[in-house]
């Protein structure tokens, strides 16, 4: 597993308060359907910014950016986050 995906899963495990274990979700499962609330998605966004030293600009701050691990990964890569181990 890529480091970036591992780190995203760790952030979600700490901040997302999902109804199911993060390990049970695929990279494409809907995080909102798994219990992530809109308020919690703000916490997840801020935690990801801290972890990856990036800032999500307004243009990508939308619900769909945080709807799955893969969507988060794509957004982070577009902001210059590294996926190297």
């Amino acid at each position: 597993m890529e480091k970036i995906t591992t780190t995203i899963r760790s952030v979600l495990d700490t901040h997302a308060f999902l109804a199911v274990p993060i390990s049970s979700l695929s990279d494409f499962d809907d995080l909102y359907a798994s219990g992530m609330t809109s308020h919690v998605s703000v916490n997840v966004m801020l935690a990801l910014e801290d972890e990856f030293d990036v800032e999500f600009p307004d243009a990508v701050l939308r619900r769909s950016t945080f709807e799955s691990i893969n969507a988060i990964r794509e957004a982070l890569l577009s902001l210059g986050a590294s996926d190297e181990p």
Partner: protein, 142 residues
């Protein structure tokens, strides 16, 4: 609170208009948690400059104040039948405090309010130590 799909209750208000209602509740402890973890970064990234100034001036009231305003945004998005809180968070400003609270809409939220024929949106906020509640009522004239 779980982000449920938008629901807007309507009922006849007058012979020529009707009232549309959106409401939401928010757990104050979630706001306390966000403030503890992220401090003013949380406030500045999500809320308006006026709301951030209030929090700076009244830190002891910050959690309930922000929880009410988070619930307000969710209630208004339900009223407008818009589902993306992150995208529209800057389009909704809750100005003032207490009985003088006003809603200021901009961008897509303002356009949607016009599309739905809302002439005025009224907002009522309340909170306990645990829960913040917001009820938004719009006068729909067409």
């Amino acid at each position: 609170m779980v982000n449920t799909p938008s629901h807007v209750a309507t009922h006849p208000a007058t012979s020529r208009s009707r009232a549309c209602v959106g409401m939401d509740t928010h757990d104050v402890s979630e706001t306390v948690d966000a403030l503890t973890r992220f401090g003013m970064t949380y406030v500045l990234r999500f809320f308006s400059d006026e709301e951030a100034r209030y929090v700076t001036r009244h830190p002891s009231r910050a959690a309930k104040y922000l929880a009410e305003r988070f619930a307000a945004r969710e209630a208004i998005l339900k009223l407008l039948e818009l589902g993306d809180l992150l995208a529209h968070r800057r389009d909704i400003k809750v100005a003032g405090d207490g009985p003088r609270t006003d809603i200021i809409l901009t961008g897509q939220c303002l356009a949607r309010a016009h599309d739905r024929g809302f002439s005025k949106i009224h907002l009522s906020l309340a909170s306990t130590t645990h829960i913040a509640v917001a009820v938004a009522v719009a006068d729909q004239t067409r």
